[in-house]
Symmetry: C2
Subunit: 361 residues, 2 copies
């Protein structure tokens, strides 16, 4: 077996080794069933327990009240971009959106395609989405306020939950869910594609407050209606069993190995601080996000020329540091240091960056 | 590790052992990348090749012309039930449906929810869906004719492709795709949830003819539009990588180990014939489907009383024969003998059935 690399991929991303090992075993025999996790019925007691335990862990980790339903759906955040306005903007209401980059823009576009009324109440497009807007006014009586909590491509992140008064918050937390604690009460709905902080690709976590379930119009297809999945505990149709199983293992790792979200945040803050501190001292690497909007998950930076960036990415790969290329839409470099990235990997990256700067400075 | 059982689950279902073994290894290191298949980027060359090879194998196995696109989507057949009428019934047209059971009924319901015009041109509901209708008249100028090629719950299957003239056929082939060859030309679209004959749950195969791609109205959400996925070769958003990888291994197994669809059909016919022949000789087990409509994939049968059926299912499970309970909506017994089920497993089932009949006759 090839030695594991330091994996800074933006998603699908690194997972805890214990999760991979346990899945590798379950692929051959799942809990002594004589079947693989890929072969067991989703209606078997042994699989229903996986779903049940995962829901319980999500509720405990986020300290959710009984008003919330925890669902495991398919289609990624990309499908949520349309399910949210389709279900949650009732006739006569309009939604508010804050635009902080590519993913928020895509979410807004789906409200537009559906012909739903909406207002973009703030945007950081004027400076290439390099900051989180602080100046916004939520519309009175808005159906919801939608925002993207962390922007993987631009390397920015909300430091705190936006204030929206009585308007329910909806957040795409795909790239920072379970990276830190937050108060769930203001949220009507939270969604997250699993493939960054939560598991492999193929499953989407949706947390929905019960009052939101009643909003859906009647002409919504069954599979696109939140209440369908809430009523059947995510087992309306055959769910992505392997992905859900792996999420259950990641949740267990967060809760039992790391020790919960406060400990997770300390660990993440320590990793990000190490890397930002080094970048700020260096004049070789330049961060692209405003300092007070910087992401703890995706650290974006540039070198002096595109040629040098190419060399940096090629040489880092040769040194077992993977995934450091910036998103194809913006270029540059990016280190994604999600929950599962060990502090040792960040140290290895900094060592390489120092050496590369010394040789090419 | 527990010994493998004979797994007659209706889906998720048994997979070839070699597929499970290779996936188990790839879970720790994928093709020497130093990453798990769960951790590699969907935009990496190594993963794009998985998609590319899978598409090529599907095209070769089904002998598809260049007019067809092969897609890997999420949401199962259940999401296709709504994507089909949403995209493929243009303004001013109506669709034809043939109702042969639970899944066809669900497909029809989604056209109804969307307010799309449709006609059910034939149904076998009058005799509890125990047969495939032979008498139907396709509407001139229909948008499509939709049918379910195999009915997992009722144990019936179309022996041949319905005749629809110039009207494009659309078929839910979730439970018999790749079980036998067929001529693809009359089909506008074919879909199949992977978890029966094709891989694990979490990915849906969609085969679409290019002329169908142009039908979609403008107000369809991006993720629900077939052309979105066709243009991006199933990589518009992060796909379910592990499930697609496992499908690629199953396709390889069909093509290289079994030797293609003619060989697959011979193997499936041999398995089904063994079991039906025994059932027909016995007066202890009674098949529920009409003889000329019987499925090669799902064999449904009853015993003399529900009490005896309960005992049969419990004792079979103790003898390492799993998944023999009929669908919760109809009761009775069902042996699902999809592609991956070895003839030895069918023999073991028949041996058990003989012994059980002897003891309880």
């Amino acid at each position: 077996m090839t030695a594991r690399i330091h994996n800074f991929n933006p998603g699908p991303a690194a997972l805890p080794l214990t999760v991979l090992e346990e899945t590798s075993e379950a692929m051959l025999d799942f809990k002594g069933s004589g079947m693989s996790i890929a072969e067991v019925s989703h209606r078997s007691t042994v699989f229903e327990e996986v779903v049940h335990h995962s829901v319980s862990r999500v509720k405990r980790l986020l300290n959710l009240s009984e008003d919330y339903k925890v669902l495991f759906l398919q289609g990624g955040a990309s499908l949520q971009f349309s399910m949210v306005p389709m279900n949650l903007i009732p006739q006569g209401m309009a939604a508010d959106y804050i635009n902080t980059g590519t993913w928020a823009t895509k979410a807004i576009k789906e409200a537009e395609i559906l012909g739903k009324p909406y207002t973009v109440i703030a945007s950081s497009e004027d400076r290439n989405f390099s900051y989180i807007p602080e100046d916004y006014h939520v519309s009175t009586g808005a159906a919801y306020l939608h925002y993207t909590s962390n922007n993987t491509i631009k390397g920015t992140q909300w430091n705190s939950t936006p204030m929206a008064g009585k308007v329910p918050l909806i957040s795409d937390m795909s790239s920072d869910i379970f990276s830190r604690p937050f108060v769930p009460a203001p949220f009507g709905l939270i969604y997250a594609g699993a493939q960054k902080n939560l598991g492999p690709a193929g499953v989407t976590l949706v947390i929905i407050r019960e009052d939101m379930l009643e909003r859906s119009p009647k002409n919504i297809p069954t599979m696109l209606r939140y209440s369908t999945h809430a009523e059947k505990n995510s087992l309306y149709n055959t769910p992505p069993c392997i992905s859900i199983f792996m999420v259950s293992l990641v949740l267990k790792w967060i809760e039992e190995t790391i020790g919960g979200l406060e400990a997770m945040e300390r660990r993440n803050r320590q990793k990000a601080t190490m890397l930002y501190d080094y970048m700020d001292k260096s004049d070789f690497y330049v961060g692209t996000a405003d300092k007070n909007s910087r992401s703890m998950m995706n650290l974006t930076f540039r070198l002096k020329s595109e040629e040098l960036e190419k060399k940096f990415i090629a040489e880092s790969a040769k040194n077992s540091l993977g995934g450091l290329k910036g998103h194809r839409s913006v270029g540059g470099c990016r280190a994604s240091i999600y929950n599962a990235i060990e502090p040792e990997s960040v140290k290895a990256l900094i060592d390489f960056m120092k050496e590369f700067a010394r040789k090419n400075g």
